[in-house]
Amino acid sequence: MYNARTEQRRAWLQASPALIWLGFFFLAPLVLILIYSFQGRADDGTVLWNWSLANYQKLFADGAFWRTLWLSTWIALVVTAITLVVSYPLAFFMATRSPKIRGVLVLAVMIPFWTNFLVRIYAWKVLLGNNGVLNRFLGQFDLGPLQIINSPSAVIMALIYGELPYMILPLYAALERFDWVQLEAARDLGAGRFQTFWRVLLPQTLPGITAGSILVFVPTVGTFAVSDILGGTSVNMVGNTLSLQFGSASNWAYGSAISMIFMLLLLGAILLYFKATREVNDGENPG
């Protein structure tokens, strides 16, 4: 009993730097936003200290917000699904190379990180614009112009491009640990290529799929820069609404309420997702 208690105390002590760090950088801002979300907006755009549920009442009746939420979710789901489908074969290819080539390929996946994200998004604007590289190329063949820019397609394309490494790397990590003899064992036991993938490889790389999907879905659903630059006024995502409220609309209280609801919904979705994938594959943690 005594031992258990000192053990516990020591554990807390050892974790305290991390706890202080987390408390300062995560918990405190969160609490601040939570408090803001119950206040109002003063005429000069500052926070009016007046506790009420008004922001939440307004939010639940705000059809525009729910439309942006729906659009954000839809875009994020499409982006996550496509990056997953594209990344899996790529990560598979990487993980089955020799260790030396693997290192080079991992580096290649990370190279885009060396350029500023905004610069890369503007590059997409140059590519997809009405007078951009793509449409000028199509014009050579009397095709187009395609109206891609300022549409969800442009946002989705750029997001897929930007998020790919976050999907590839966890998948690669999961595939690299895989014991390839198992594929031969499955074939040996009569499984065709699809069955081998579905019953042996996929279940064991599910942790990588889960991690990658969350790493892609979360930033995508909350993006504002990509939809701002490439979607223009026609692609309004939650991120844009938030940036509006905290920016030109100067309604921090309402923005905070949006943040809270958005965060809670996201958290719920992730928990459900975790639960679903864990039920499919509880093999990683026997016992």
């Binding site: 064992a185 499955a186 040996d188 009569g190 990683e284």
Partner: protein, 366 residues
């Protein structure tokens, strides 16, 4: 098909990997119900040969027949063979029972039958109570049994085993050798067993193919391989062996006399056609050599020697003596008398005579 069919027939099978030859023109016929071992040092091509039979690799040239049917490029999942992998390759995300059921699931057998057969298979390998566990919760020996049950439940014509006992400790390995052999005899399935352990091959096999550098050097029953090796490599790889190089001096009724560079003459049984002047090597196993103290014995193959090292290992005493020309020579003497009298055992420095019968030594190609 009028010709008798073999469980597995290899017809001039060669496998090259980017210019290097792993398997070189091998032809073998393995009978139904046979326990056949592929024995050789690592890199001799035995595993490649097994993988070609399993269908994981295709021969660069030559044909493989299983039960008389030409395999060609038939994929592994369409061959009536199953493999026990060296690393077991169990599926970690499935329970033991699910692992064992996998092959039957792939054949779309109904669930009730699968459950019955899984139970039988697990009982066969004495793991009836472990069906719900994960492979990682089992010991190495138990995982090995799961791998065996997972393969055998499919009732293949041929079971391929790739050094399945290599990861087990000695005692467990011996147990599993006996168990494997008894399962094989009970089920009557053809086993093709890859190993680099010569003792394992001798104890378990009906026939052994000794391989080196992608080639089969000799195929035969364990006694043939051990007592009548055809080459120096086979004699050396299987068991211990003393070799004496020399030039053929005379051939008489199958007895070949060799003379060493030092002028010493030895006589052995000729195992290949030789004529005077040919180079050859005499091979004699340490347990077939006798040591004599005191009076010099009469006859051929008698040499004065000095005992150099003595290792008492219980059943035997292993003695290294030094011949007059300075070369070491292994002699194993069975300890047939129970005694503590130190005079009954050799000690270093003892002068002795080394001798062996002509028919117990073989003249092989150098």
């Amino acid at each position: 098909m009028n010709t008798p069919t073999w469980a597995v027939e290899l017809d001039h099978v060669t496998k090259e990997f980017r210019g290097s030859v792993a398997v070189r023109d091998i032809s073998l016929k393995i009978a139904d119900g046979e326990f056949f071992s592929l024995l050789g040092p690592s890199g001799c091509g035995k595993t490649t040969l097994l993988r070609m039979i399993a269908g994981f690799e295709n021969p660069s040239s030559g044909d493989i027949y299983i039960e008389g049917v030409l395999m060609g490029e038939t994929p592994a999942n369409r061959r009536d063979v199953n493999t026990v992998f060296q690393s077991y390759a169990l599926f970690p995300h499935m329970s033991v029972a699910e692992n064992v059921a996998f092959g039957l699931h792939m054949k779309n057998i109904n669930k009730a039958d699968i459950a019955t057969r899984v139970k039988q298979a697990l009982d066969m390998v004495q793991l009836g109570a472990f069906g719900d566990r994960r492979p990682k919760q089992l010991s190495g020996g138990q995982q090995q049994r799961v791998a065996l049950a997972r393969a055998l439940i499919n009732e293949p014509e041929v079971l391929l085993l790739d050094e399945p006992l290599a990861a087990l400790d000695l005692k467990l390995r011996k147990e599993m050798q006996l168990e494997l052999k008894s399962i094989q005899q009970r089920l009557g399935i053809t086993f093709i067993f890859v190993t680099h352990d010569q003792e394992e091959a001798l104890t378990m096999s009906d026939r052994i193919a000794v391989m080196e550098l992608g080639k089969v050097l000799q195929v035969g029953q364990p006694t043939e391989i051990y007592e009548r090796p055809k080459t120096r490599f086979v004699a050396d790889f299987i068991g211990e062996c003393n070799f004496i190089d020399g030039t053929v001096l005379a051939v008489e009724n199958g007895a070949v006399t060799l003379e060493t560079d030092g002028g010493v003459r030895v006589v052995g049984t000729g195992m290949f056609p030789v004529a005077a002047g040919d180079h050859a090597v005499l091979a004699v196993r340490p347990e077939k050599v006798r040591l004599v103290e005191g009076q010099q014995p009469q006859g051929t193959n008698v040499f004065a020697a000095i005992v150099e090292r003595v290792a008492y290992i219980g059943s035997d005493t292993r003695i290294i003596v030094r011949l007059p020309d300075g070369s070491p020579f292994d002699v194993w003497e069975a300890n047939t008398v129970s005694t503590l009298d130190p005079n009954q055992y050799y000690t270093a420095g003892d002068p002795v005579y080394v001798t062996w019968a002509t028919q117990n030594s073989l003249i092989l190609e150098r």
